[in-house]
Subunit: 420 residues, 2 copies
Amino acid sequence: MSTAWNSRYALRTLRAKGSTIRELLKVTQRPEVISFAGGLPAPEVFPVKRFEEACRGVLERHGRQALQYGPTEGYEPLREMIARNISRYGIVAETENVLVTSGSQQALDLIGKLLINSGDRVLVEAPTYLGALQAFSIYGAQFISVPVDDNGMCTGELEASLRMSPKFMYILPNFQNPAGVTLSEERRRQLIFRADKYGIPIVEDDPYGQLRYEGEHIAPLVVLDYKTLSSHDGLPPANVIYLSTFSKTLAPGIRLAWVVAPSDVIGKLALLKQAADLQTSTFNQMVAYETAKDGFLDQHVKLIRQVYRERRDAMLEALEEFFPPEVTWTHPSGGLFLWITMPRDIDCRLLFRAALAENVAFVPGDCFYANDVFEGCRHMRLNFSFSQPEQIHEGIRRLSMAVKMQLRRAAHPALEIVEQ
Amino acid sequence: MSTAWNSRYALRTLRAKGSTIRELLKVTQRPEVISFAGGLPAPEVFPVKRFEEACRGVLERHGRQALQYGPTEGYEPLREMIARNISRYGIVAETENVLVTSGSQQALDLIGKLLINSGDRVLVEAPTYLGALQAFSIYGAQFISVPVDDNGMCTGELEASLRMSPKFMYILPNFQNPAGVTLSEERRRQLIFRADKYGIPIVEDDPYGQLRYEGEHIAPLVVLDYKTLSSHDGLPPANVIYLSTFSKTLAPGIRLAWVVAPSDVIGKLALLKQAADLQTSTFNQMVAYETAKDGFLDQHVKLIRQVYRERRDAMLEALEEFFPPEVTWTHPSGGLFLWITMPRDIDCRLLFRAALAENVAFVPGDCFYANDVFEGCRHMRLNFSFSQPEQIHEGIRRLSMAVKMQLRRAAHPALEIVEQ
């Protein structure tokens, strides 16, 4: 039918893979399913009223500006606000160091476009954020994976990988998606030290940094980079591009995130963004500014922390209550996700089907691995932000049934035949 | 300073060129300048009140959905509405044939990503839309240009170019940006016939199609493609991907456009979009749907037509009144732009500076040419949608002063020295 087109696809189109998650989400949207699969924020805490006021305010006072084209780099007051907000974490940024993007996914796409020639190596954690693997793969990235444990990326195993000259490292230091683990301060320092030693820059993705439920804030890599390294001209060194987003603190449906980088890098990214979508919605940027301003965002983040902490605790308690001792899991001190490790002989892709029969869903771990998909199969990612505590309790109970059944089957393979 | 990054840029980054226009716009934003440079819709006709009601309606009734993640392909009711609206023009499309994009620029980027391997040829009009040249260049496109005249692309000159096997043709048939000309029905048929003969598919970009101020609607290429060509399986042939947008009928600040294509092409584009920005803002899509529904969009387009027709007429009259006989211009029957042709020895890049001294701005034509930049230098693009009729009259008067001075200088090169 449309062979006029599909015989003409570019090589990169043949590389593009769908997100298993987005496919799974379609299956798991039946109302009877308790889903731990998506990475969805809790819609109950969206500041709907405040948004409504913001929309009215923006349209009444600046309607014509809000609906018109605007600058590629972003709405100036929003860029200033972002620069101001992140300075509290020690990040040194002026307005010109901030590029507003259409969600963090666009930031990842633009970074892939900026840096990756087909065949270039990119160092990632194993597991890592699926969306980054998708974005970078399209540009022909080859991945080098470094495993994570409870303290984040195993920096002790970094040297061999850095000797393979990756173009850059992509790191999620806080409450990582999918594993929920946090890179310890000591490892952050090791990472910066080695990055400097081998001259390999870092893309630091920090969507969840503000959603910490316990423990102390740890300085982001971009700040440790200034502090650790000396600079010739008195300016901070600039080996880290820092990404964050409003998706987890305000709402994902407005698609607003940002890149912090040296101004010449921002200039190049803005050029690429201009060709990619001209600019991010003027209206959304103005509404987000109006929503976030006067301290509202900080207050709102406190509420989110409280709600998500409860849900994380509900999930940890239910796991203790229902899950068998052969299974282990991470104890995230923030973020949206928790990571389950099954015994070696369990394939979570099969477990997914068994779980769905019990009306509960998760994401099998294989899709978060760039290289060792087999290792990934023994993991599950569970989201705890979306479901209410009672649902979490019931969902983990259901999931434990499927888990125990898979464990029995693995112990007695003959059962498989009998039960079929 | 940030050599960590700029020594690592990908080849495509080195290809990325900024839009002269976006740079010019910065210069021309002084309040005393009358600017015909941008491609901006008239902000006075933005339906601000209706947007405000739509925002309130969406947030009150569906706030949690509007602020949450949504499907990559787009908000289902909006996709249905788009399919329904375009069926009036004979375009055969179901919901599954429609992909919502973050503005038409994203559609162009995704099409470049989908189809262009570095070195592939793309056939374009000369002049053509600058944003398409930017989007396709990044993927390494080589351009083949076919000139346009008052009846659009010169299809008589097409054969030689098609024999060079372009991967696809990129065509703006209605009130083309920048020239304002429209491809005649006879030439559309010739184009479809030759596209079929050489097996070269077409990307039809139609942002202005609804903004016709006189004359009869001409069937889009995608419709002529069904009618002209036979199909084996009873389905319409699918050699045309059709693009349009809400930027010129509702507002550009919400960044909403769409691609119409066979469902397998839409599937691939959605994969690429997922990696590029996950999805277009759920909120904006729901607000646009709410704004456009119940016949509002049609009514509103009538108002825009009336306002822009007046402005076009004001510009044409002022040109007749003030411009010298050596200068010619197009008479667009729709759209936002008009195209001036100067005598061969005038360089409109120099004229731009002279005009700015008179506090009036336009875009020199060279940036709309993929190949023959020299030819482009004798043209100017004038936008007539943004300025009010009195401003247009005054702006054209000012511009005529600069034009006459340049003509005098060209006739008497010695003047240049005297005047300096």
